[in-house]
């Protein structure tokens, strides 16, 4: 592979990486709520503006509901709009998330995955973005700061693609990645400018030569159903667009991105499916168990929406046992990724056993021993064919008697 760009390596936190990516994208509008639960992505963007490094209309709004509303207005006016949030902030903008996707506005948002109260907790947890899973946003997940940076750049292309025109949320783990420093390889501004290109909005409220009505009332016997169907089809087309953009990004950087990453999966008999930073911890354990000759592997889901059901079923069909690691829970159902993956495997001939591991809620540490525990029960299932616990909780304290 020929990589077109020169290497430019630095030490960044996840938040720095995302703020840098947003500076390089050079959006027209950045509307962000600047106070908790906001992360320093917003702070860094405003510093870029103050230092003259970013020419953007920076709107420090009074709430996340307003942040997303301002992005919707800006995008409807034909602007390239970005925002960032976390935790309760994402919940607060929930109402407007559906409007952004329903109006087919290609807004790019960074979300730092953190827990939802109560009890009050600020640490890593995927409940915020999982709660927005039906809002019609494309959701990308990032294992580390590098992937967060790369995902934000690709998100612009995916969102604005004429076959898609949907908003994209780029997720990364709160604190573990957002505030942890690591090596990140950056692209030169000129390559980013070239890669993201100039935004060509489908419609613009500011185009007085071609007046449009955006967000009309649909009438009492209107066409909501048909428009929703069109939105669903756009989400389905996004799978192909995400793959194409990933390939183009690979030719630029040497880093390739698909719908998910397979790690030592081809000849594995048992595997875990995991999102975000815990994938790194699990990979270490996969390597360790492979040294011992155990047939273990891993699938790291990058694209949660659109859910790559068929592709994942294909990649996982020959396994004997799969453990799905969820850092969030739908009480009364279980882990959301678990439920969806189990459903995706329903039509596979000899279905693998699929079990659920809930881990890391409210930032509970996920250590290699927890991954070992998961693999050990999966290897047991592989050996005996019996599932004793459909749902296990990794790293939970036992209740006092």
């Amino acid at each position: 592979m020929i990589i077109k760009t020169e290497r430019k390596v630095t030490i960044f936190t996840g938040n720095q990486a995302i703020a840098e990516a947003m500076r390089q994208i050079n959006p027209d509008v950045a509307a962000v709520y600047p106070i908790t639960p906001q992360t320093d992505i917003a702070e860094r963007l405003s510093a870029f503006v103050a230092d003259g490094l970013l020419n953007v209309v920076y709107v420090p709004v009074e709430s996340e509901h307003s942040a997303m509303s301002a992005c919707v207005g800006a995008a409807a006016a034909g602007a390239r709009a970005v925002t960032a949030t976390s935790s309760q902030g994402l919940v607060y903008m929930q109402e407007v998330l559906y409007i952004a996707s329903g109006l087919r506005l290609p807004i790019v948002m960074a979300n730092v995955n953190r827990a939802l109260s109560a009890p009050i907790n600020i640490h890593c947890d995927h409940s915020d973005s999982m709660g927005a899973r039906d809002s019609g946003w494309i959701q990308l997940y990032s294992e580390n700061a590098q992937e967060a940076y790369d995902n934000v750049l690709q998100a612009v292309r995916i969102a604005e693609h004429e076959d898609v025109r949907l908003p994209v949320m780029v997720n990364m783990d709160g604190f573990i990645v957002s505030h942890g420093s690591e090596v990140v390889e950056l692209l030169d501004d000129k390559y980013v400018t070239e890669f993201v290109g100039e935004y060509q909005p489908a419609f613009s409220l500011l185009d007085v030569e071609h007046t449009v009505t955006i967000g009309p009332f649909d009438g009492l016997h209107g066409h909501f159903f048909e428009h929703k169907k069109a939105q669903i089809e756009a989400m389905d087309r996004a799978r192909g667009v995400i793959l194409d953009v990933g390939k183009e990004f690979a030719s630029l950087t040497g880093r390739s991105y698909g719908l998910f990453e397979e790690y030592r999966l081809a000849d594995a008999e048992v595997a875990v499916v995991v999102l975000n930073s815990a994938a790194g911890t699990c990979k270490i354990v996969v390597d360790e168990l492979r040294e011992q000759g155990l047939p273990v592997g891993l699938l790291k889901l990058r694209v949660f929406r659109p859910f790559p059901s068929a592709e994942m079923a294909d990649a996982l069909r020959n396994l004997k046992a799969i453990g799905v690691l969820d850092r969030s829970v739908s009480p009364g159902l279980g882990g959301p990724v678990f439920a969806e993956l189990r459903s995706a495997l329903f039509d596979v001939g000899a279905r693998p056993k699929v079990v659920s591991f809930i881990y890391g809620l409210g930032g509970r540490e996920f250590r290699p021993e927890h991954a070992r525990e998961a693999f050990s029960s999966l290897l047991d299932i592989n050996k005996t064919g019996l599932v004793n616990n459909l749902v296990s909780y990794l790293g939970i304290r036992r209740r006092q008697p």
């Binding site: 329903g102 109006l103 087919r104 506005l105 025109r165 489908a202 419609f203 071609h210 007046t211 449009v212 009505t213 955006i214 967000g215 009309p216 009332f217 649909d218 009438g219 209107g222 066409h223 048909e226 428009h227 069109a230 756009a234």
Partner: protein
């Protein structure tokens, strides 16, 4: 884009025309009362024009001509701000 129809689906339910709110004659939502305008008492101070939440006060050549009942909800703000009693709220059935 003249000739656009409701089932010409554009992304996001966009309508390729401006001013489409006119199509929805929301005056049909009006409840019991509606404004009656008396031109003889009006001094064209435009307080009603400024305060009407639906832009229903019709102007021509700097003079108020009347009230557009296609969009008037009958809220009565115009009658309450009028310093000369040129607008009065009347019962729908009596008018």
């Amino acid at each position: 884009m003249r000739g656009w129809k409701e089932d010409d689906y554009l992304p996001g339910a966009t309508i390729p025309l401006g001013g489409t709110a006119r199509w929805n004659k929301t005056g049909s939502w009006r409840a019991l009362t509606l404004p009656y305008f008396d031109r003889r008492l009006c001094i064209d101070c435009l307080l009603c024009w400024v305060t009407c939440p639906d832009g229903c006060i019709v102007m021509k050549d700097d003079e108020i001509q009347g009230i557009d009942l296609d969009y008037c909800k009958g809220c009565g703000i115009c009658a309450s701000v009028c310093p000369r009693g040129a607008i009065t709220m009347v019962n729908k059935n009596e008018s």
